[in-house]
């Protein structure tokens, strides 16, 4: 059996007295959709940020393909093919959708101009439009600031950015929050498509039906710890809620 593409063990993180993560574990295999669920404040976003390199853990071990790594910046995680849709989307609102897609990875202009810092705006625009189209993300205005987009359209830009660059793993922190049924189904379809192309997904969601519909495995986080892992085929919504709130653990212990 090959090692998981990403594995984290005993991750801890405190903010002052708040112990957000108290030894959290998670592992993701290739081409797998793992749902990460838990109540508000369980530490899902904190774990996501740590595994994306956006936040430094206090302790614990992260392995990529079984090899220990330290992510000292998001760039380090990206080098391993890991991309993230942050819960706050992390977009530059004054920039347009194309600029957001390519931020930090701009295509330089050819030749001397490129070395002077000029950008190949036409090429980025073409590639960006192509990415939005292939992901069925509709953008009202390619030249307009993302600030003028609806919340949903902004989320589309963030999702497209992560999916466009992800080689191996995408973290999606509540990409379907407050969505209509149809829009949610489209995102879930995207997740399946990404998975089928060999890229793993870690989906964070509060919607049990969505989680059950799309994931292969479900990891439950409570008080900064993994308290249960379920096979999505053999678990019910009630069991998940029980694990998140702690009642299941109690009844199981009794």
């Amino acid at each position: 059996m090959t090692a998981p593409i990403l594995e984290a063990r005993g991750i801890t993180k405190s903010y002052g007295h708040v112990r957000s993560l108290q030894g959290a574990d998670i592992s993701v295999d290739r081409g797998e959709v793992v749902a990460l669920i838990g109540d508000n404040g369980a530490g899902k976003s904190t774990l996501t940020k740590i595994l994306s390199g956006a936040l430094k853990p206090d302790g614990g071990e992260i392995r990529v393909d079984g090899v220990p790594v330290t992510f000292d910046s998001p760039v380090a995680a990206r080098r391993h093919g890991i991309e993230t849709v942050y819960q706050d989307l992390s977009l530059a609102l004054d920039l347009n959708p194309i600029q957001n897609l390519f931020l930090g990875r701009e295509l330089p202009a050819k030749g001397l101009l490129g070395r002077l810092g000029f950008l190949d705006r036409a090429a980025m625009r073409q590639a960006g439009e192509e990415a939005f189209r292939s992901l069925s993300v509709r953008i009202p205005d390619m030249r307009g600031a993302v600030a003028n987009f609806s919340g949903g359209q902004r989320q589309g830009v963030a999702v497209a950015r992560a999916l466009m660059w992800a080689k191996r793993l995408v973290f999606m922190d509540e990409p379907t929050a407050a969505l209509g049924v149809a829009q949610t189904r489209n995102v879930l379809d995207l997740i399946r498509r990404v998975r089928d192309s060999g890229v793993s997904v870690v989906l964070i969601s509060h919607s049990m039906p969505d989680v059950l519909a799309v994931s292969d495995r479900i990891v439950v986080l409570r008080h900064g710890r993994r308290v249960a892992t379920f096979d999505a085929k053999r678990v019910t919504s009630d069991e998940l809620v029980g694990a998140m709130t702690g009642t299941l653990e109690l009844s199981g212990a009794a």
Binding site: S73, R78, L93, L95, E106, L135, S136, A145, A147, V187
Partner: protein, 350 residues
């Protein structure tokens, strides 16, 4: 900070329609919305109207070469400061120290030129290098404090303003120094090419280059990105700290250049003459539509914003009104500009 903000819970865009169905992109925005989105056009329009009024009221005096040259030279000095300030404000910062850095670097520059001998051929070159170099040091100090310690730029640059100004007075003994190389005064300060002051030509080239860098290069793009969402910029892999230091160095070097030009124009240091330069530069930048919240602005707008106070000052005198009206008018326009900025932010629901 927790992330459970309203923006995070917003609906999503990937829509159900098949790819390729372009769909209507909503109704075209109204005129008000478009002007809100392009404040620099509004300020440019105002400038054109002001100029037109002065020309209509007294064409011979307003269009006289001497008046035009005066306006252009005044604006040139300010535009150099305002260029750096535009970069700073786009990152969401502010730089109060530019006037003091100008004075400090001009004192250092002049002392260096006198030390190598004001009439030697290398004096102007030494002076320029010392001027830019001594200014850049302050930029590094500002930038490091602001980027690394997360101190408020207003306070950091207020502090360096005081230190730089005090240091300039200590170095000069508190009195203005003379001894500016004659060649510098003749060729740069009062020099002209085909009737156009050299200072104006240099400032114009400088502003154009700075505008191209801001609007067309990766460096400029990162300046906007950091002002829009600093944390997002870090997550996108940008070296935010290094970029901020560079931006404050740019602002300081602009002040150093202005200090050098000030020497060449007035043939001495002008220690007491730059107390409000920082506020004038900020005024020009904000008038020009650059948002004090960071993330948006243009150098074109800043240029128009520089000219408005200068044109008003010159024009009011020509039509026989007290030039104090200039301060009143600029203050009012400034208030309007920041009100519009505020409205723009709200409509973008940031």
């Amino acid at each position: 900070m927790t992330e459970a903000t309203s923006a995070a819970k917003a609906p999503i865009a990937p829509e159900t329609s098949a790819p390729g169905t372009a769909g209507p992109s909503g109704p075209p925005p109204g005129l008000g919305a478009r002007i809100l989105a392009r404040p620099e056009l509004m300020i440019f329009g105002s400038l054109v109207i002001i100029v037109a009024i002065f020309i209509a009221m007294n064409p011979t005096a307003f269009l006289s070469p001497i008046n035009l040259r005066n306006i252009a030279v005044e604006a040139s000095m300010m535009i150099i400061l305002a260029v750096g300030m535009t970069y700073v404000i786009i990152t969401g910062g502010i730089d109060l120290s530019v006037g003091a850095i100008l004075v400090f670097s001009s004192v250092c520059s002049l002392l260096a030129m006198r030390w190598v001998g004001s009439d030697t051929a290398i004096a102007p070159v030494v002076g320029l290098a010392v001027s830019l170099g001594s200014a850049a040091v302050w930029g590094v100090v500002n930038g490091l404090f602001i980027a690394r310690t997360k101190l408020n730029p207003l306070i950091v640059t207020l502090a360096t303003m005081g230190i730089a100004m005090g240091a300039a007075r200590l170095l000069s003994g508190g009195v203005d120094l003379t001894g500016v190389p004659k060649v510098l005064i003749d060729e740069v300060g009062i020099g002209r090419v085909h009737g156009v002051p050299v200072l104006v030509i240099i400032a114009a080239v400088f502003a154009i280059v700075a505008g191209v860098v801001l609007h067309r290069t990766r460096f400029g793009l990162y300046t906007y990105a950091i002002g829009s969402n600093e944390q997002g910029a870090r997550r996108a892999g940008l070296s935010v700290d290094r970029h901020l230091v560079m931006v404050y160095v740019i602002s300081a070097v602009c002040a150093g250049l202005a200090g050098y030009f000030s020497l060449s124009r007035f043939a001495s240091t002008t220690i007491a003459g730059h107390g409000t330069d920082n506020l004038k530069a900020i005024t020009a930048v904000v008038l020009g539509g650059t948002s004090l919240f960071g993330g948006s602005g243009t150098l074109f707008g800043t240029t128009a914003g520089v000219f408005i106070p200068v044109v008003l000052a010159a024009g009011l005198v020509i039509i026989g009104l007290p030039s104090f009206w200039q301060e009143v008018a600029v203050g009012i326009v400034l208030l309007i500009a920041i009100l519009l900025d505020q409205m723009r932010r709200k409509s973008g629901s940031r």
